[in-house]
Amino acid sequence: MANLTQTSSLNGYDQPIGDMRLREITDLDLTSLAIPHKGATKLKTAIKNGLSLSMPTPMKSTADAKSRLLMTQPDQIFAMTPRSKHAESTIRKAIGDTAYITDQTDAWVVLELSGPSSRTALERICQLDLHPDVFKKNQMARTTMEHMGSMIIRTDNDTFILMSASSSAASFLHAVEISVQHVS
């Protein structure tokens, strides 16, 4: 029987709006790595060896060109790594059993908002202080936008990744789109 075909939450949405660009990112695996009780040190080493990244801290993500690690809870890390066939196995290959690994790829919709007016647009939806002196590059936070649980990461000066639950992806996109349109 044929392999199942995939769809993404927003069918690969990608639009220029004013001086900004808003697009869906679909080429990532998302996995949660729960840190076993008293297992942080072991995981830290495994991440260093297996993913060549250092441990993220509560507000600061660590990243290289391909991958990014976020601290999403005091004992939980999110890994954003290149899309593979089986996210859990891919991460397990890298870090072994140093964390409880759970595939989250399909649980989230991932948007990227870039362009000079991005921060102004986000003022309409994100209650966090995104001033570049306060919310620096690679900083991340979980928060709420238009009543939807969300994550925000600053990946560059004018570039932000915005994540929310995949089931309400269309509502989330609408909320971000409106914010962008209102300031463009």
Binding site: R142, T143, T144
Partner: protein, 95 residues
């Protein structure tokens, strides 16, 4: 209101859900002989102070931490915010 999360810094209270008295951490042993009595007190007897109050808040739209927030019920001044897990351990809870 703003809750100064020990790990994440100041956050709007709208990211949190309020539960109530921090004494809810002190859950009695259900297998003890006087369990029924203890649970009654645990669940139904609460102080209602005009002043400093320790209460549980959950960072629902954040890192899912339970926090113990010490808030003055007269002024809303928040004098301390602790990770509830640390508080629980300090109070002798384990498994």
């Amino acid at each position: 209101m703003i809750i100064n999360h020990p790990l994440l810094g100041p956050r709007d209270a709208n990211e949190f859900i309020h539960l109530g008295d921090a004494s809810l951490i002190n859950r009695p042993d259900g297998m003890a002989d006087d369990a029924a009595e203890k649970f009654h007190d645990y669940l139904y007897l609460r102080d209602n102070p005009a002043g400093e109050y320790r209460e549980l808040w959950y960072h629902d739209a954040g890192d899912r931490s339970w926090l113990v927030v010490t808030r003055n019920t007269l002024t809303h001044e928040i004098s301390s915010v602790e990770m509830a897990r640390d508080v629980a351990r300090k109070q002798g809870r384990s498994k």
